[in-house]
């Protein structure tokens, strides 16, 4: 996520706050709803009360069956309708439009039914009057006796009682009794025309009564329906209130739970978002302190640690560069030190050699003189039996002393002149000179000497005697390595680009140097030559001198094919103190 720290903080704080607010709002909405529902319940209760009022008046009306009570009932219904119309459309929609339309329809039905019932009641009273009138006429007729004997006064009276009972009770029992009476009367009817109007009006009344009963039933049904609807609405609203009330604590609880769990979670997340890049930096610094300078802070552009990471990385770049140049310097220093150590080694080797040479020279001188003295004395004396043998022995001693002298004087040569007296030397003529010293050996061994010189070489500023020594040793070895063959001396520049270093190679076709000893040949006292022939100092001195002149020496050789020595000499000698 590429977010700025303050964004992250806002998220961390906002989400728990949002949950809390949501919980609060939800609770508020629910409680408001509950209040509204309570209003609905009140409305429903009001309506129900009015319906009950209407029903009370309905009972009065049914009881008295007169206009007065019918009017009261009507006004009550009108009141109900009026109240109903004051209820706002919105409330109606919320409570349930369907309820209200049913309610309205039922009220209308109820109203119509009550009207019908009232009409019936009016017909009933007319009909009742008629029955009474006919009854009285029938009574009068029975009393007149102009009829068959069955129509006795008693019978008519009994019938009238039945009629009155029925009018009073209007129940099945009294109706049955009346029907029975009427049936008896019917039996008389073929004989009694006067009976017919009574029976007819009675029948009409009965049917009116039945009609009223049915209408009343319907009216009561409608009334019940009205009661039921309002009851239902009130109940439903109450139920809703209850469920709301049940829900509210749950919501509050849920919000608290959410806050308790999500709150710390988001705060933690935010904290780790903020801390993460810093942690990364810390990790990187750890790795760097362990020496891995190639580490870089991951750069996320929208991070506030972006610029920190950038400058951190720039710092690291600098550090790495510095580190690299430091390493280079150290490498250079190490090389120089190696050179110095080498020079130091050479120097101490030189000092040691000189010390040894000096110490040996004095006893050697004593041996030399004592032997010389004996030789002198014996030489001067007359012949005696072992004279020649003694003299031979003395020559042997002198030769050994000479061998020692060669060694010590060579060692002293190694330690010669520490500061280079600068002479201008032409390398080609120097090499000619050196081979001149060895002319005799070359001639005796019938060795062919070839010069392969480059003409326009720059003159060398160096120590001539030392340079002579260098090539003398190498060429001497070449001569020693063969009986006949070729020695080829080549001169040139080391590289085409620069004219700083001259390269001299001395190739021979001698017996060569076995690879395993090639590394030893520059060591002092290393020799493969017979005792008395080699000192093992030639190449070590050459090596020391070349190094002292700031040059280099190397060898390439194959057994039975030959050997080539390569000597590099700087045109301008760098004095290395040895």
């Amino acid at each position: 996520m590429n977010l700025k720290i303050w964004h992250k903080m806002i998220i961390g704080i906002a989400i728990p706050s949002f949950i809390a607010i949501l919980g609060g709002v939800l609770t508020y909405v629910y409680i408001k709803d509950v209040k509204k529902r309570q209003g609905f319940v009140l409305i429903a209760d009001d309506l129900k009360e009015q319906v009950l009022e209407v029903r009370r008046n309905e009972k009065n009306f049914v009881h008295y069956k007169n206009k007065e009570h019918f009017d009261i009932l009507n006004t009550e219904i009108g009141q109900l309708e009026k109240n109903l119309s004051t209820i706002s459309e919105k409330t109606i929609n919320e409570i349930g439009e369907e309820n209200f339309s049913r309610f309205r329809k039922t009220i209308l039905e109820y109203f119509n039914l009550s009207n019908a019932l009232f009409e019936n009641y009016q017909n009933e009273s007319i009909s009742t009057e008629k029955v009474r009138e006919e009854g009285r006429e029938l009574e009068a007729f029975a009393v007149s006796g102009k009829h068959a004997f069955e129509l006795s006064t008693n019978f008519v009276l009994h019938l009238r009682i039945l009629e009155k009972n029925y009018m009073l009770y209007r129940d099945k029992k009294s109706l049955d009794a009346l029907h029975k009476g009427l049936a008896e009367l019917k039996n008389l009817i073929p004989f009694c025309n006067e009976c017919i109007p009574y029976a007819d009006s009675l029948h009409k009344l009965i049917s009116l009564y039945e009609k009223s009963g049915a209408a009343l039933n319907e009216l009561q049904g409608a009334g019940n329906a009205l009661e039921k609807i309002t009851g239902e609405v009130a109940d439903r609203e109450r139920q809703k209130i209850n469920s709301f009330l049940n829900l509210t604590p749950r919501i509050v609880l849920a919000v608290i739970l959410l806050l308790c769990t999500l709150g710390p979670f988001f705060v933690y997340e935010t904290a780790s978002y903020i801390v993460a890049p810093i942690k990364r930096l810390v990790d990187i610094t750890k790795k760097i302190s362990e020496g891995d300078l190639s580490q870089r802070a991951a750069i996320k552009e929208h991070d506030e640690t972006y610029s920190l990471a950038m400058s951190f990385n720039t710092m690291l770049d600098h550090l790495q560069l510095m580190h690299q140049s430091l390493e280079k310097s150290i490498e250079l220093l190490r090389k120089k030190q190696e050179q110095l150590v080498e020079a130091e080694k050479l120097a101490s080797l030189g000092k040691f050699a000189v010390g040894v040479a000096h110490e040996i020279n004095n006893p050697l001188a004593i041996i030399n003189e004592k032997t010389g003295l004996i030789k002198d004395v014996i030489g001067m004396s007359d012949d005696f039996p072992l004279k020649n043998k003694l003299l031979d022995t003395l020559v042997g001693i002198s030769d050994s002393v000479n061998r020692c002298r060669v060694i010590t004087h060579r060692l002293l040569g190694f330690a010669r002149r520490t500061d280079i007296p600068v002479e201008i030397i032409d390398i080609n003529s120097l090499l000619k000179e050196v081979t001149g010293f060895l002319e005799k050996d070359i001639f005796y061994k019938s060795i062919k000497l070839k010069f392969n010189f480059t003409d326009d070489l720059p003159p060398i500023e160096s120590d001539k005697i030392q340079l002579q020594q260098v090539f003398l040793n190498i060429i001497k070895n070449a001569i020693d390595a063969m009986e006949d063959g070729v020695i080829e001396i080549t001169t040139g520049m080391k590289s085409r680009e620069s004219r700083d270093i001259i390269m001299v190679s001395i190739r021979d076709t001698g017996h060569g140097i076995p690879e395993e000893i090639q590394k030893n040949i520059f060591e002092p006292f290393f020799t493969t030559k017979q005792k008395g022939k080699g000192t093992g100092l030639g190449l070590s001195i050459t090596y020391g001198l070349v190094k002292r002149l700031g040059g280099n020496i190397s060898v390439k050789s194959r057994v039975n094919e030959g050997t080539t020595f390569f000597v590099e000499i700087p045109v301008k000698a760098e004095a290395v103190k040895v």
Partner: protein, 152 residues
């Protein structure tokens, strides 16, 4: 030119065995040889008598050969000095030659070479003395002194 026997040589060396033997051998070769064993003795010796050639060692207890050479060249510059040493470095050689040493040899040295050098030194000394005398006889004492002191 004087005979060999007339060449007076002083050997200066602390190595007794060496210098005594060398003295004998040189005597056998018709040289007049004296021996001293250190620099101080050498200097007191030349105060009494004047040898023709001094064969001088460098590394000795007491006065170093170079110091002795300096002293000789100061007080008796006509004496030829040949350095014969086992300890000579190139530096010493240069120094010795600069201070007027006749030659510089390293031990062990060949007896014939040494004798030859002694003779050479003596011959040079004689030649210089003759020239000096010639100048002196003509009154050019300064020049004569210069020649003796090798200051041309």
């Amino acid at each position: 030119m004087k005979k060999k026997k007339d060449i007076k040589v002083l050997l200066v060396d602390d190595e007794v065995e060496f210098v005594d033997t060398l003295a004998q051998r040189l005597k056998m070769r018709d040289l007049l040889v004296d021996v001293v064993y250190n620099g101080e003795q050498a200097l007191s010796f030349i105060r009494k008598t004047s040898p023709d050639v001094i064969v001088l060692d460098l590394k000795m207890p007491g006065l170093h050969g170079i110091e002795v050479l300096k002293e000789i060249k100061k007080s008796a510059s006509e004496i030829q000095v040949i350095i014969l040493t086992g300890h000579g470095t190139d530096k010493d050689e240069d120094e010795a030659r600069r201070l007027g040493g006749f030659d510089f040899l390293r031990k062990p040295a060949d007896i014939d070479l040494l004798v030859a050098k002694i003779k050479e030194a003596f011959a040079e000394k004689v030649e210089r003395a003759m020239t000096a005398i010639a100048f002196a006889e003509e009154g050019a004492l300064d020049t004569a002194r210069k020649i003796i002191k090798k200051e041309e």
